[in-house]
């Protein structure tokens, strides 16, 4: 019984370690796939982040001004 335990313990440790490694690999792969959907592999991440921020700011600004324009039109009706 004791001998079986001596063999089984290292085996189970090895198995759990390799499973953890696989999980890390698949998580890294998933992350890479997610990033690849958004930007080219060779693209500069910081540059991309800045451009995306500029885009969102532009979108928000236009929303804000257009809402104001819409409200002003509504007010002028009365």
């Amino acid at each position: 019984m004791g001998t079986i335990f001596v063999y089984a313990l290292p085996l189970s440790v090895c198995a759990s370690l390799s499973m953890a490694q696989c999980r890390v690999k698949s998580s890294a792969k998933l992350k890479r796939e997610r990033v690849d959907r958004i930007m080219d592999a060779g693209a500069n991440t910081e540059e991309f982040r800045q451009e995306y921020l500029n885009y969102l700011t532009e979108l928000e600004d236009s929303r804000f001004f257009k809402t104001k324009f819409y409200l002003r039109n509504r007010i002028n009706c009365y």
């Binding site: 958004i38 080219d40 451009e51 500029n54 885009y55 700011t57 532009e58 236009s62």
Partner: protein, 143 residues
């Protein structure tokens, strides 16, 4: 075949005539400089040539000169809005494929875009939808 119910965007015409050539040309009509840049960045690997316009008033002339496979049309612009520009393009080139690309999204707008002759409607919030759409188009072309 696209199923609009499964997607955030709408394709009005399911039988889009796809080009057999591999080179894809896209005309971007948007008054936002950053929007144009981001669209180009997202579609960079999926298109071969881009042409840009900052207003709907220039879109028809740009279409005539560039003859793109797709037009990405913003809704609100300074001189001429996207809907009027789309009507102008479709009147002159009935086979033109115009995709409305806007930050506003409701059924009325989608209906108006469809009536103007646009073949699709994409919300501006999620550029991934757009690149996914073009990726699917590429897969269909390769078949």
């Amino acid at each position: 075949m696209f199923k609009p119910s499964e997607l955030a965007y709408t394709c009005f015409q399911m039988n889009l005539a796809l080009t057999e050539k591999s080179a894809v040309k896209i005309l971007i009509v948007d008054d936002g400089e950053h929007a144009r840049r981001m669209i180009k960045r997202y579609l960079n690997s999926l298109a071969d040539e881009f042409c840009e316009c900052a207003d709907g008033a220039d879109a028809l002339a740009a279409y005539r000169a560039f003859m793109p496979d797709w037009v990405l049309m913003d809704w609100e612009m300074k001189q001429m809005d996207g809907l009027t520009a789309t009507r102008g393009i479709i009147d002159a080139f009935p086979k033109a494929r115009v995709l409305m690309f806007t930050q506003y999204d409701d059924q009325e707008l989608r209906r108006a875009a469809n009536e103007a002759g646009a073949c699709g409607f994409f919300p501006k919030d999620d550029l991934l939808d757009l690149s996914e759409f073009f990726k699917k188009q590429q897969l269909l072309i390769r078949r």
